[in-house]
């Protein structure tokens, strides 16, 4: 078995191991919830043992007690400095969900569908506006705001928490209104997007990936460019030129592909020089 799916599965199961929650429509209330996981995993998911870093950050920023969260920011800085977007490729439960959705064979020629480059900047706008600005500045008369990304956009909350909790509670079902309908429709659109385009949410909408992308060039864990050859990348990048760029999720598929394809074809530097030459000629 490949290492990456194994790690992803263990992280998904490990961070959502409170199985009792799924049976009774409840959530875990123990002390582990004080710790944030590095990836996107809604803390209201019935199985969640830990907290979501984005939800926690917004909750503190939107509250009246603190104007800045040293704790969650420190965790995010630490995760970013060590891993960069390796977290997206290996440690994000919602990333695995997206990859599984993309395996659904509903559309032909998925590879031919490209995302326009300016779409990739949407996630940075969401990070600045919905995760930071709105929770900090859009506060009511008692000085309490709301977690805008969770409230209006996050499909992980709807899929991992909303659907199972509403399925198990008549009271919650009765309380669901226009906002739930909006989030359900948006989540359905994200699901379709992920079926068609590999990691659609990561590439276009995820503010957590946007934050970690700032660390991709400097984090301790990086991909050695000398080990990358060819042009294979599921994220639509050119591995030779864009490994460790903002969009690289460090899945390592380019390295594995290069190992298979270029085995016995001379040194890494020679193959890389030839590949770069091909790219320049084809451009």
């Amino acid at each position: 078995m490949k290492i990456r799916p194994l790690v992803q599965s263990l992280v998904l199961l490990g961070s959502n191991a409170y199985l009792k929650g799924f049976m009774g429509g409840r959530i875990y209330k123990g002390p582990l919830k004080g710790v944030c996981v590095p990836g996107l995993n809604c803390y209201s998911c019935p199985g969640a043992l830990f907290s979501c870093p984005l939800g926690s950050l917004q909750a503190i920023l939107a509250g009246w007690e603190y104007s800045f969260s040293f704790y969650v920011t420190g965790l995010l800085l630490g995760f970013g400095a060590i891993f960069g977007r390796f977290i997206c490729g290996f440690l994000c439960p919602f990333g695995l969900i997206q990859e599984l959705l993309h395996k659904i064979p509903l559309f032909k020629n998925k590879r031919a569908i490209k995302i326009p480059k300016f779409f990739l900047y949407i996630k940075y706008v969401i990070l600045a506006v919905f995760v930071v600005a709105l929770p900090v500045f859009a506060k009511g008369e008692f000085g309490v705001g709301y977690p805008a990304f969770c409230k209006f956009l996050c499909p992980a909350g709807t899929i991992e928490a909303g659907l199972p909790l509403l399925a198990g509670s008549e009271g919650l079902r009765k309380a669901a209104g226009a906002l739930f309908l909006w989030k359900a429709l948006l989540s359905a659109a994200v699901v379709v997007g992920c079926v068609v385009i590999y990691r659609f949410f990561c590439r276009v909408l995820c503010p957590l990936g946007a934050f970690y992308s700032f660390f991709n060039k400097i984090s301790l864990l990086r991909i050695d460019p000398d080990e990358v050859r060819g042009t294979f990348c599921k994220m639509g990048l050119n591995p030779v030129l864009e490994v460790n760029s903002l969009e690289c999720i460090r899945c390592g598929e380019c390295k594995a592909h290069a190992k298979r394809r270029f085995a016995g074809r001379g040194s890494s530097a020679e193959v890389m020089a030839n590949t770069t030459e091909q790219i320049i000629h084809s451009a």
Binding site: G30, K33, G157, A161, G177, A184, F215
Partner: protein
């Protein structure tokens, strides 16, 4: 300092800042604030609040 050395040191500096931030956050009681939010169903997250 050369660019290579600077890039090697930068994540370590960020890690040190991260550690300091976490320590400040813990002493300010932010863990309890995160816990308090996380042990209750987040109505905004599920699309109700």
């Amino acid at each position: 300092m050369t660019r290579g050395k600077y890039l090697k040191c930068l994540p370590l500096v960020i890690l040190a800042v991260a550690g300091l931030f976490i320590a400040i956050g813990v002493t300010r009681g932010e863990v309890e604030a995160v816990l308090e939010k996380a042990v209750n169903i987040c109505l905004e997250c599920i699309g109700i609040g």
